[in-house]
Amino acid sequence: MFDPGKVLPGLVIFLILLTFPFWYGKGRTAPPALPVDTPEIQKLSVKKCIEPTPFMKASHMELLNKWRDAVVRDGNHLYANHEGKKFSMSLSQTCLGCHSNKEKFCDACHNYSGVKPNCWSCHVVPQEGRT
């Protein structure tokens, strides 16, 4: 049943369609620059996040899930990072405490990646210092 006239072009079209999301947008839009110059960050003496930036970029959602289970299910509210520095595990208070520019920081990248995290339906965004 192998009819090369139909199967091979069909396969090629299928592969083009399958990989469409990967090649269509290339070069059209650059990932957004994420500003980390909020007033709160500028007040810090040591401008460091909870964990190194590459880790945060790749795994902040896993970290937040871990925090969620630790706070809600284990009753532990404190996080000791790789260097032993302690932070309160709170999206609204700790993360957004420094990254108060949610639209330019969180939302910009999420919109670019087509991600709709539903944290914000419950976790309130602090008003003070919002840019």
Partner: protein, 256 residues
């Protein structure tokens, strides 16, 4: 082509298994992870409980109710159908049905008594939850809600003999008068209730209702600590609990 379907399937299967090797190895070989810890200045207790001096509650007083609902972003939908409440007053005859009789003082029958989640030691709501979104904390006995996991099936509401739980039948955000930014809200489709202010206990603070009460009518403490006020109170007086015959072992004690 000398290539049977069976051979193709075998090769495809092995490839799929092989593709799973690296993720599996990575998961197993994950290195030392950072730690999550209990807050150092938390109030520690092994069995939190509350006692309520009902005689000390002034008529029409809502200090504790407002403090709790303000602190925890409890919405006010303005109608009894969608109502969400964590702590509120009910007449004595409804809180202790069967305890009132014909000759009881009319004022006592209608006397407002504070009701809230009893954080039972044998909670039926925990037993029935299909996702363990509501669970009993082994360390201190608080019956907690995990709003991330709740699927909104409302089996826990059916299971609660005290009517302590509320379902968010609508999005609560527009109905919160003044948002407390230190505490999350909930979203539509999940069940909520009093949490014995576990987030305040973690910061070394008493529950909001206890702190707000000007008459000091609410006593909160650790029953496993013989030196605690509540333990001494329970030993000194007879107290009533709601529907104790059901075996739920409620941990809110009423001094009438």
């Amino acid at each position: 082509m000398n290539f049977s379907r069976r051979v193709l399937l075998k090769i495809a299967g092995i490839t799929l298994i092989g593709a799973g090797v690296r993720p599996a190895l990575e998961a197993l070989g994950a290195g030392e992870s950072p730690k999550t810890l209990a807050s150092p200045n938390r109030l520690a207790g092994k069995r939190w409980a509350m006692a309520i001096h009902t005689q000390k509650c002034p008529a029409g007083c809502r200090e504790c109710i407002d403090a709790c609902h303000r602190e925890h972003n409890v919405p006010d939908f303005g109608n009894p159908k969608d109502e969400v409440k964590w702590i509120w007053n009910e007449p004595f005859k409804d809180v202790f049905p069967g305890q009132e009789h014909r000759y009881i003082d009319e004022r006592l029958k209608e006397k407002p008594v504070l009701v809230l989640c009893n954080h039972c030691d044998n909670p039926p709501c925990v037993r029935v939850c299909p996702t363990q979104a509501t669970f009993k904390r082994q360390e201190d006995g608080i019956v907690m809600m995990d709003y991330h996991r709740c699927i909104g099936c409302r089996f826990c509401i059916a299971g609660c003999p005290y009517g302590a739980r509320s379902m968010n039948f609508r999005d609560p955000r527009p109905f919160i008068k003044k948002i407390n930014f230190q505490f999350p809200t909930r979203t539509k489709g999940v069940v909520e209730k009093c949490n014995f202010c576990e987030e305040r206990l973690a910061r070394g603070l008493m529950p909001a209702c206890v702190e707000a009460c000007k008459e000091k009518a609410l006593v909160f403490g650790d029953l496993e600590n013989p030196a605690s006020d509540i333990r001494k109170l329970l030993q000194a007086q007879l107290t009533l609990r709601r529907r104790p015959e059901l075996g739920t072992k409620p941990q809110v004690y009423y001094i009438i």
